[in-house]
């Protein structure tokens, strides 16, 4: 029994500015004049408010929401309890929290469903955060962009990091750029533009690339909205 509210009412709230999304994959799209753009398709996911944290009770104010629908057998009992408390009949496996000011908590209730279908078409520029693909143990050329050595004239190995500093200190300074594990880090790509939102497929086409493998989970943060005349033009088309 999720409670649905008209979305524009709390469109500017912090919790609505950050939503989870699934990376579908990359393709290309034609814009209005036939120029091709590289786009990444992301599927924004619906979320349910599971807990509201207040200054008085928790020491800070935040909204906890659940996302990523799954089967009932896949979640444990404590998770079931949280979902039952929120009064939602859907089963979610993951949670996150969005910090916000105490005033912003007004109007948000536990059990409230937020469906990106309602407002996604209005978003313009976004930041996308996700885990990058793991590269394993990578050399200095791949990991730090070192130039390497010459390929010809008998160089035995031309991908070495070579010297790591003076002999006086007689140790390796912390933070030196050396070979090591690369990738599987949290990466944020800032200022990506949403090319369009496809309501039927529920996918946003973001121009450019985003971190992580296809099917991976991402967080999309809104940084700007489309101008009113543009929204009207898009809505008029449908």
């Amino acid at each position: 029994m999720g409670i649905r509210r008209a979305v524009p009412f709390f469109l500017d709230k912090a919790m609505i500015k950050k939503i989870p999304a699934k990376k579908i994959g990359m393709t290309s799209a034609f814009d209005g004049t036939g120029t091709t753009l590289p786009v990444t398709l992301l599927q924004p996911l619906p979320v349910v408010v599971t807990q509201i944290k207040r200054q008085e009770t928790d020491g800070y104010s935040a909204v906890q929401v659940a996302y990523r629908e799954t089967l009932e057998k896949r979640i444990n009992k404590p998770t079931k309890g949280v979902l039952a408390k929120a009064g939602t009949d859907k089963v979610f496996s993951k949670f996150y929290e969005v910090r916000c000011s105490p005033e912003e908590l007004e109007g948000i209730e536990v059990g409230m469903e937020v469906n990106p279908v309602d407002f996604m078409a209005r978003w313009d520029q976004i930041n996308v955060t996700g885990m990058s693909k793991g590269k394993g143990f990578a050399g200095a050329m791949k990991r730090h962009g070192f130039a390497g050595q010459q390929r010809t004239h008998g160089d035995p190995d031309n991908r070495r990091p070579q010297s790591n500093g003076a002999t006086d200190a007689a140790r390796v300074f912390k933070g030196s750029r050396r070979p090591g594990h690369m990738g599987h880090d949290q990466v944020t790509i800032k200022g990506l533009t949403i090319f369009e939102y496809d309501k039927d497929l529920n996918v946003i086409a973001v121009s450019g690339s985003v971190p992580g493998p296809n099917g991976g989970m991402l967080f999309v943060k809104r940084i700007s909205e489309r101008p009113a005349d543009e929204i009207a033009a898009v809505e008029g088309e449908e």
């Binding site: 036939g34 398709l41 533009t193 090319f195 497929l201 543009e230």
Partner: protein, 141 residues
Amino acid sequence: MKQIIAQYNKKMAKPEGEVPKIVPGDTVRVHINLYEGGTDHIAGLKKIHRIAAKGKQSKQNVERIQVFEGTVLAVHGQGPMQKVTVRKIASGVGVEKTYFVNSAKINKIEVTRHGVVRRAKLYYLRDRVGKATRLKEKMVR
């Protein structure tokens, strides 16, 4: 997820019948929309925001139509993102252009002649000059 990408790409395609079936060896006339002085004025929006003009790019905004006529050397890919490479000799110099057939930049494509060819990629025509570049016409019953 591949189905979602395929469904998304499907929207990019022009209406059925607008793009003829093109095979290597065909002689085609490609009508190209030209916008003098760039394309920024068309939608009155930033390049990336031409979503407003998406799909209904008005033909009256086209300032000139240029025709590029030549032989199809290769067809790359299939579906909405299919491309064709067209070669012609302009002032004694070989010119090759590759187009997205479903792009709004292409006004229309006419197939004027079918050539008899035995390969999918006719790159051997690049090494030929004059009469040797001709292809025998395929008679359609």
